[in-house]
Symmetry: none
Subunit: 409 residues, 2 copies
Amino acid sequence: MADAEIIAVGSELLTPSKVDTNSLFLTHELNALGVEVVRKSIVGDDRARLTGAIRDAMRDTRIVILTGGLGPTEDDVTRDAVSAATGRALVFSQEICDVIAERFRRFNRPMAEINKRQAYLIEGAEALPNPRGTAPGQWVVSDGCSILLLPGPPGELKPMFTNECAPRLRERLPKLVIRTRWLRVAGMGESDLDALIAPVYTRYTNPVTTILAAVGDVHVHLRARSDREDEAESLLDEVESQIAELLGDRIYSRGGASLEQVIGDLLMDRGATLSVAESCTGGLVAMRVTSIPGSSRYFRGGFLTYTDEMKTSLLGIPPGLIAEHTAVSEPVAVAMADAAAKLTNSTYAISVTGYAGPGGKAPGLVYLGIAGGGKADVRRLQFSADRERVRALAAQMALDLLRRKLLAP
Amino acid sequence: MADAEIIAVGSELLTPSKVDTNSLFLTHELNALGVEVVRKSIVGDDRARLTGAIRDAMRDTRIVILTGGLGPTEDDVTRDAVSAATGRALVFSQEICDVIAERFRRFNRPMAEINKRQAYLIEGAEALPNPRGTAPGQWVVSDGCSILLLPGPPGELKPMFTNECAPRLRERLPKLVIRTRWLRVAGMGESDLDALIAPVYTRYTNPVTTILAAVGDVHVHLRARSDREDEAESLLDEVESQIAELLGDRIYSRGGASLEQVIGDLLMDRGATLSVAESCTGGLVAMRVTSIPGSSRYFRGGFLTYTDEMKTSLLGIPPGLIAEHTAVSEPVAVAMADAAAKLTNSTYAISVTGYAGPGGKAPGLVYLGIAGGGKADVRRLQFSADRERVRALAAQMALDLLRRKLLAP
């Protein structure tokens, strides 16, 4: 598999508010060609540093793509840096200069003297036409390494890559197909999950398995390479099936769908409806459920009962029940879920009651209830995490508990 | 001015859909310390390539910050790569191992054998405590270069940088006083705001003014440098006072407090309480209000009425009112807010009713109501944005409307 490094050039990309998005487009296109991006760099408008970065990249990869720094001003240093890194001279091209001059004429603007800087080609480079801008791209092969100089504006870079670079790369590269799969898992820590499935995936170098963790949510990503589509798919099948067997019903989606999307689909399939009664999560469960377009077809509504008094006045929880067990207890979680289902006339209802912390009686203690389909389910959880994480974990586990109830025979 | 390079480690950051955001935070913090970021790199979970990238960075800069790759699994290669690049051994630390084991005990979870990998320190490194996660950070000085190993999850990285790294860097760097101010503004677009205040801030190079925009929220950041504290403060006073005059009551906080924090403080000051009745935002307003620790002192609860039927059965909105005006209308927004305040016996109530889209009758049309202190306020808004942004903008504007009501004489 061929490797590439992308170097984005521009001091503005080193400020706290700018991200380089060209490399996302390029990565997508390169992967489709069977090229893996092994490093991305961002370097300012600094001739010496950029020269060093290009040399580093030429040492490690066979394809180096530079974006930006092809403008006409002093701080556009990409041409100079490639010249220095490869030891090749910059050669003035009258042909390119004429194309640039023609472009200015078309726009009825005078061509400034500095624009001639854009007519210099690295010795031996091929110019890549840029119908959308002034600076042509360049393609130069040095020491067996293909170096691509592309303009920074996405509107110029994208068509140039698609029309000029991709066909050239396709010709030079061995045919390679890349296929991916996602398994998403709720309610398991990253290291527990890894301990469980590592014995499988470490036996394979193709597909490559990556584990990504968010709060209460772990994603297993499989990526297979082959020169044939069916082989890539069957490599994935082989590993995915073994991992799936180990993880069982902890996998909530295989195509990449979010937990709230999966729940929405399950509710729709069953013609069922949902409501909530949230205390410590303060609306987070409902917010996630309603983030899905079309959720009004199954989500009816709910109650935010942040105080004991509200649990009584909105949901009718008997004050005696709260006095006997406290508001954060199994009986109150069950009563909240049952009341929400009944008051909204929903098939299912989720309740959450807990102490998000910090401080208080038992920070991190949460009870979840799921009403519907007979007796309510209830679960006690104890998290050791800050307020934000306790709330996020409680909402995640509540949604997963509902998923399991919906899937139960 | 000192130079730094940031290396983000993780194969997932080399996929077409992921951007490295940690480096934006770090750049911001480093700039505030007078450190310039001269290169950012992203390298996959590849020991050899990462070792090469660290060596490149050590050649060019005096501060190298690595983020990610400190997890317990085989593909977490940062410790190994720094060890290889510096020629220093990895040394097992029983002390760190005990801290990790204690953390697992607190969560009532068994510590997996692989977690011991996280207890290895580069020879001569200082461990940086990580109260939010398992892996400690590390600080090692090699060949005059300070190398920082920080965890990848932003929730762990940010406090570690702020509490452990920034003070150490400040000690080592030439004394330079940097003072900052934040003005946070709701309900104004970034470009409108810039057009308004640019005539002021472009006249000054010190302080430097930066405008950062989130959804419905714009932050104006002023940063002054001097070798004297009082001079830095008076430079800030001069520019801040002019900007503040132009923005007036659109500024909701000056110290950096979030809108929900400001509202919480205002409600507490007035001994007032709050409830909500949310339709299209599905709990987002309440979720933000209750994200503040101690919000149970002023937030009572509320209603999620996602369907017309729920607006009637939970809030008692007359079906005739909905039939006459539709659920997304001024009279219904007012009735929802009034009903929420009354049913929860709160001083104030926020209502939101709208079409989040996509599709439907009038995607992006939202009515907000604020009950309390006499006649309800109501506002009609029309957003042109996707579902997620419409919901976020509606919640933001609802909170700002409440803030204005709380401040009204």
